[in-house]
């Protein structure tokens, strides 16, 4: 058995982001997370659908439970058909804009290992004037794995096999301030939870509540493992750690940008699945301000996350969401600011240690 290497910070983010984990196939991510939790004091539970829970009991059998939650799955692909010439027809796992598909590399997990391919449609030379203006639909594209026939393709892949974008982790920009990869949504949230548990141990503190870190499955298709997590622990409070799509691009008016990369974690007031607990939101923003931690309020009602399930499970949970502002979410090239990653870790720790739950 190979020895587990405990990784930290950006190295851990890189490692987890590169693990294969499209919606419905989160097992490898779960395995890696459990390894990385080894040196914390948390009790590890893995449920039937592969949700992972790290439970840290508080001082003197506390009454309250606080849950942190982040999802392990990433947007990806599932093979719906393999045609006579060995091209792969696929469906998208999660919401992917068809315009970010064409030309990207993908990796399918076959029975004997990974198979590389390129998402393609007909060459520009064969597109009509009309076709050149309109986006190609995902179901008009196919993955080219270099197969010579259906039999050749089926020797390595089958219908129902899943895939992800094939994308390297790249640090770039001025002063190496940005990171680009697939799956930062939401391995970033997973890393924040792992590093929060480690910091609690390092600082030797005992929390006055039970803390549950829920690493959940199937967020991207909305039929989420977070529901089971919330039901199992019935938390009084939950903080969903996420990434959120932003558009801080030139020419986009400020009020439509959602937030700005580099200005700290984004705290939501409202999105398409949840209206957040206002006292919790205000308290979190106040803690950020008092501690000099960058944080920003989400300026636009868009998106949704596991809070949509958690806040209404059983008798309800007061929810907060803190997200890393992320450019080009749900593409092969998600971009985050490394400063924001650090800010979010500090913010979550500050909330756990100073908010009056």
């Amino acid at each position: 058995m190979s020895e587990t290497k405990i990784l930290e910070g950006l190295e851990l983010l890189k490692h987890l982001s590169l693990v294969f984990g499209p919606t419905g196939s989160e097992e490898e991510v779960a395995d890696e997370i459990i390894k990385q939790l080894e040196n914390t004091d948390a009790q590890i539970i893995r449920d039937r659908m592969s949700n992972v829970f790290a439970v840290l009991h508080g001082k003197n059998r506390p009454e309250k439970t606080v849950m942190l939650s982040a999802h392990m799955d990433e947007v990806g692909f599932i093979i719906k058909d393999i045609d006579g010439e060995g091209y792969i027809r696929f469906g998208c796992l999660g919401g992917i804009d068809s315009r970010v598909l064409c030309g990207r590399k993908v990796t399918f997990r076959g029975k004997e290992g990974d198979v590389s391919g390129v998402i393609a449609s007909k060459a520009i030379h064969h597109q009509s004037a009309e076709e050149r203006k309109n986006a190609t639909k995902a179901n008009d594209m196919y993955v080219d794995i270099g197969a010579t026939s259906r039999e050749d393709a089926e020797s390595v892949l089958l219908r129902g096999d899943s895939g992800t974008f094939d994308s390297e982790f790249v640090i770039f920009g001025e002063n190496d301030g940005y990171a680009k990869c697939k799956a930062l949504d939401d391995r970033l949230g997973c890393v924040v939870m792992i590093e929060t548990l480690r910091r609690i141990k390092e600082e030797g503190i005992e929390l006055p509540f039970d803390l549950v870190c829920a690493f959940t499955v199937r967020e991207e298709i909305g039929i989420s493992g977070a529901t089971a997590a919330a039901h199992r622990f019935r938390p009084d409070y939950a903080i969903v750690l996420e990434t959120t799509a932003i558009a801080d691009l030139p020419d986009v008016p400020k009020n439509s940008r959602v937030s700005e990369v580099g200005n700290g974690g984004v705290v939501s007031l409202m999105d398409r699945s949840t209206i957040y607990n206002r006292d919790f939101v205000d308290g979190a923003m106040k803690i950020a301000e008092e501690n000099g931690i960058p944080a920003q309020i989400k300026r636009y009602v868009s998106g949704g996350n596991d809070a949509g399930h958690i806040h209404k499970t059983a008798d309800g949970t007061r929810c907060l969401a803190i997200s890393a502002p992320t450019r080009y979410l749900h593409s092969a090239s998600c971009v985050i600011s490394i400063k924001d990653f650090e800010s979010i870790k500090s913010h979550v720790y500050a909330i756990l240690t100073s908010y009056q739950f």
């Binding site: 315009r99 064409c102 390129v118 060459a123 203006k133 080219d144 794995i145 986009v252 080009y328």
Partner: protein
Amino acid sequence: MEHKIDLTELTLSLASLMSVTGHTRYSKDKLLELVSPYFDEIRETRLGCYHLIRRCGKENAQKILVDAHFDEIGMIVTEIKEKGFLTVTSIGGMDTRILQASEVIIYGEGREIYGVVGSTPPHLQKPGESGKLKDITELLIDTGYSKEELEKYVSIGTPIGFRPVYTKLRNNKIAGKGFDDKACAAAAIAAVAEIPADELWGDVYVQLSNFEEAGGFMSGAQTGAYEVNPICAIVADVDLGSTPDTKKSETVPLDGGVSLSTGPITDKRLTALLRKLADEKEIKHQMSVTAGGTGTNTMVVNLVRNGIPTVDIGLPLRSMHTSNEVISMNDAAAMRDIIALFVTSPEIEKEVCPNE
């Protein structure tokens, strides 16, 4: 035959160079380092073509032109915006549907800068917007720099190319940028470099031409061929590979071998002869029929001076003009072998020089 040049390695080395049309000099030093061991002389033409010359050693030798274009599609910067976002326009027939979320390198002054082609997230799009394809001038490239810092390295007109990352696919196929046409250039170089000089029937000029992708005027190949004044020419370019959404009549399948173009502008007798010789040598080849222009440098080369008998050969390629063009190295090897055959065969020599 033992090959001293690893064709895949040479193909990837050439393809990964920056050679956006009009900016081919950027990689001149690296190119020369790669190819100079194999040639007797290298010349650069006025319009930025390279002639890699291999001499046969005979007196008053005939000249054979082997053309493959070195330039590739790309982009140039049109504006530097706040937060270091760039607007761009394309050089060559860029397939804009593959751009969003792709990775690029901005070839700035003294610094190569990584960038991601930006996109508006679906959550923030207006209804109906996702069906429309953005024009290239509406796209933004994200560099992660501040405008002020970026302006130290980047200005209007700075060239941008796809990030060279290559992936092996099944059955000896590879995916990545720049195979159009540097995979053919690699096949030509490998073919000519490996042949003992006394087996060549003439002096061979491998022409790495410029300006093939720029709007179809192909001025590099035209003026380069004028300068060489060859007795005949073989033009090697990529050919549109078959896909499920294209007609068989318009494409050639990958792994079908090197394609030989048949139509009004290619030399009929030479093409037929080369096909027969390739059959004898068991070099895998297929026919590619074009009713008019071939879309390659053959269109200009065959009309240089008094007219140059030209054979047009193709390397089947899928996803042309994208960052992940797909080729089969089996076809590339066949292209190398057929070029070697062309420049060594006494029958070809006899066909183009009947009086000697």
